[in-house]
Subunit: 245 residues, 2 copies
């Protein structure tokens, strides 16, 4: 296993940061590394808002369900799926843009994830730690207003960055034979494999919480999925010009 | 700039591969590196179908608009957003899963992209080259049938992998001030910055094609966006249990 793969395998979310600053030049390097990720049909649909303003940071932390590190992390980035730029390109050529397709929503969102994961890997290669903040979508309309996002731009997730002030264990992942299948989708072994994995996750939480958290993977997932999942997302996205067809 | 960031910055799509095999053990290492990426609320929604069967590969190449390297690349992977596994977890706990939310479609799709980008970075760190295959979505229903995907699983994109037998230049990206914004979305400089970038892209294609391809970024985007974008995606996804609300 080479050093890059070692690095990838050491990933865990960091939510506690040392106060040490991340220079703007360093941040620019991370963003440039993000831009080098593959982009669907060269659309380059990811725009990053770097949020430095402390008032904004406090409000975004609230939006994300009071995750204090959104306000306190040395850096906080919001990754936005951006088709406003495509509209501009169309205007430059007097072309009438066809928008609102599900496919476009998908490619723009995927572009953000590919971009962000490159930023994450680059950051970790410098010794930085990070946590993705999907919680911004709790109050996505308020986030959009705070960042003055125009139509055809939506915030996919945030990213806290800083030098780690904690050293949590990596979290065990599903067995390889559950996530990697040969030639076709065959899930006959999944039930038993997930049962075994559940034990591993139970042990992970036990060790990590000194026995106060008893949770399996399937238990956690099933508890989450009996509830509705951010039902405001579809009307919000449609109001911003996405997912209309 | 450290070696990891150098690696990320050297990315370009590879579509021509040496015949050298990629061992299964190596492939497993790549998938394990993929699994280590962040996952939204620990959903681990990415399943990879490794396609070795030559007949299947030929059919998938057709689905992707006759991209021959889908059939001929030493390895071909299909990344699927998978909520079937979550359904199984719910069944294991007698829980009634709430599905069809846009938010769930988004998080499952993003999980695949984060996972795949880790696979891509790990692969490139071993000297492998790759190209993402979004074209599978041209005939997404046929792809789903070929891979026997059940409800709540859909193919997000493919990935060709192999040792490069070509050495194309990296493609210039949008200027940093277009993709990185401070505290709010301000696009007042974008028009001029894109104009300047267009010249750079024009030059890139001129050099690369010996003058036969004359194309700017905004020109390319505007040509693409006057057309409809895979309008079958929404009905397809809904028929598979996604994007119903």
């Amino acid at each position: 296993m080479n050093a890059v793969i070692e690095l990838l395998k050491q990933h865990r979310s960091i939510r506690k940061f040392r106060p040490d600053a991340i220079e703007q030049e360093t941040l620019n390097t991370l963003i440039e590394a993000g831009q080098c990720a593959a982009t669907s049909s060269f659309i380059q649909a990811c725009t990053v808002i770097q949020v430095d303003n402390p008032t904004l940071r406090t409000e975004l932390a609230e939006c994300a369900g009071n995750q204090a590190y959104v306000a306190s992390a040395p850096r906080f980035l919001v990754f936005c799926a951006d088709m406003r730029r495509h509209q501009l390109a169309c205007e430059m050529h007097g072309a009438e843009m066809q928008s609102g397709y599900t496919e476009q929503f998908l490619t723009a969102s995927l572009d953000c994830a590919l971009f962000a994961q490159n930023v994450a890997v680059a950051a970790e290669s410098m010794g930085l730690g990070l946590v993705y903040i999907g919680g911004l979508r709790n109050q996505i309309e308020r986030v959009s207003d705070l960042l003055q996002l125009p139509e055809l731009v939506y915030p996919v997730f945030g990213l806290c960055l800083g030098f780690p002030d904690q050293d949590p264990e990596t979290k065990p992942r599903l067995p390889l034979n559950v996530v990697l299948k040969q030639d076709r989708y065959d899930d006959t072994q999944d039930h038993d494999a997930i049962k075994a994995y559940d034990e591993q996750v139970l042990e992970y939480y036990r060790t990590r919480t000194g026995g106060t958290k008893e949770m399996t993977w399937s238990g956690q997932i099933s508890e989450m999925l009996v509830k509705e999942a951010r039902p405001h997302m579809l009307p919000y996205l449609q109001s911003r010009g996405f997912l209309k067809q």
